[in-house]
């Protein structure tokens, strides 16, 4: 314990010397982690056994030296310095049980992990680049043969095309211009035609709904059309004097019957 101050002093002198050497190529470092990795090498131990406390001191010495030499360090170097100073205090002071958060040992262990991982990545990067490389150690075909693209047109027709084509030729005379066939519409003409045939049997009052065409009640659109035209046709027949119409109440069924020809 009594030796500690001397040790500390000695190591900090060594750190300062090391830092001075490092500072010469401060531009050569790829960030604080890289600098830490370089500093850890001065410990000449396996990265797993690196003393994070010592590393923190080395780093802080480096930053001090840089300040003395008026070398502007990038901000993230200073952030790392502040964090390492905090880590150092945590490692040196006994843990405060009231304080939350990770322990100094946890933080140190993670830093050691980061350094080891970065070193590992550097090692495999070197191994990767040392591999035989295409275009340097082994080669692809120098005279590739171009794949010729042959375009082939495949004509096709369907049976429908064929029949429509034939129909087109055979029916030039009976060609009728295209019209939209409205199969959901029951015209008034159709309704009149239908009612004229039936009206002769309507001696008594009958609901006009019974004059609706058969099968049109399945589709509401057709039903609506048939209802409208049947009603219009009834009015037309009434106007012609062929039928009488009555409705007992609002929305009550509309009834009609054949109008008997005047005897006089």
């Amino acid at each position: 314990m009594t030796e500690t101050p001397t040790d500390m002093f000695d190591s900090s002198v060594a750190d300062r010397l090391a830092a001075e050497a490092l500072i010469v190529d401060v531009d050569g470092f790829e960030g604080p982690l890289d600098l830490l990795l370089n500093l850890s090498r001065t410990q000449k131990v396996d990265l797993r056994k690196v003393s994070v406390l010592q590393l923190a001191q080395q780093y802080l010495a480096f930053v001090e030296k840089a300040k003395e030499l008026r070398i502007e360090l990038a901000a993230d170097y200073l952030v790392m310095a502040a964090w390492l100073a905090f880590l150092k205090s945590r490692l040196l002071l006994p843990p405060d049980p009231t304080e939350d958060g990770p322990s100094g040992e946890d933080l140190a262990a993670h830093l050691a992990f980061q350094l080891e991982r970065l070193q590992a990545m550097r090692d495999v990067a070197a191994k990767l680049m040392a591999r035989d490389q295409l275009g340097r150690d082994f080669f692809a075909r120098g005279l590739p043969e171009t794949v010729e693209r042959v375009r082939k047109v495949d004509y096709t027709a369907t049976l429908l095309d064929l029949m429509q084509g034939y129909a087109r030729i055979r029916t030039k005379d009976e060609f009728r211009p295209f019209v939209m066939d409205r199969d959901a519409v029951f015209t008034m003409e159709q309704a009149l035609e239908r009612m004229r045939g039936l009206i002769g049997f309507a001696g008594t009052w009958t609901d006009i709904a019974t004059y609706m065409p058969d099968g049109w009640d399945a589709d509401p659109v057709r039903w609506r059309s048939a209802t409208a035209s049947t009603f219009a046709a009834s009015l037309e027949l009434a106007k012609e004097g062929k039928v009488e119409i009555r409705q007992s109440d609002t929305f009550a069924p509309i009834e009609l019957r054949r109008r008997e020809p005047r005897s006089d």
Partner: protein, 219 residues
């Protein structure tokens, strides 16, 4: 004095012939241009004999997918001539048959055997050579017997390929005018359902048409 070449040879010992063959193989493969024997020797270790290695290499590639061939006074690796077809990538483009071709084909199918003059009479326009050639090339029509009339004109009939393509057992199975009318095809309006009009060339419509066809067959 005469010993000097021997001494040199022993100083720069040439690789075994099998190694030299490997070297020639690698160089011919990787070089962008055919390589002369001199170039090969220049690139290979001193004392190598590229010409001899080439003899073996050439033999090794005999009957293989690629061959060692002489191009002028140089050497190269090339695809075996019978495999040239592999170096072509065929892109098949499907196109609708032209209206003229469809009509001509339809007339032949419905009226076979039929002469060119008869086709023209039915269509009301002359039939171009190209149209008939195209149908012949597609092997949907072929020449039938000559008509025993003056000039002995050739006739056309449809082929088995045609029947296969349209899914027909025989040309007699083609729907008659009455059925065409029933199917709504004689009124130049879209047949029931969503059948596309002639000339709809896109693939979706094509598929739909095929569906339509099978529906017709069920009738």
């Amino acid at each position: 004095m005469t010993d000097t070449p021997d001494i040199e040879e022993s100083l720069f010992e040439a690789p075994p012939l099998a190694e030299q063959e490997r070297m020639v193989e690698a160089i011919l493969f990787a070089t962008a241009e055919p390589v002369t024997v001199k170039e090969l020797n220049d690139r290979m270790p001193h004392g190598s004999d590229a010409a001899e290695a080439l003899v073996y290499l050439r033999k090794r590639y005999e009957g293989r997918g690629v061959n060692v061939v002489k191009v002028g006074d140089a050497w190269a690796v090339r695809t075996a001539p019978d495999l040239g077809f592999l170096m072509q990538k065929e892109t098949v483009e499907t196109r609708k048959l032209s209206r003229a071709a469809v009509e001509t084909l339809a007339i032949i199918a419905y009226h076979q055997p039929v002469t060119r003059a008869e086709i023209e009479e039915i269509r009301g326009v002359s039939v171009s050579r190209g149209t008939v050639d195209q149908l012949l090339e597609m092997e949907w029509i072929r020449f039938g017997r000559r008509r025993m009339t003056p000039g002995r004109p050739v006739t056309f009939v449809v082929t088995q390929n045609f029947l296969d393509h349209f899914g027909l057992e025989s040309a007699r199975d083609l729907p008659g005018l009455k059925e065409l009318r029933a199917a709504g095809l004689l009124e130049n309006r879209p047949p029931p359902g969503t059948m596309p009009q002639v000339g709809d060339g896109d693939i979706d419509a094509e598929e739909e048409t095929e569906e339509g066809q099978s529906e017709l067959f069920e009738d």
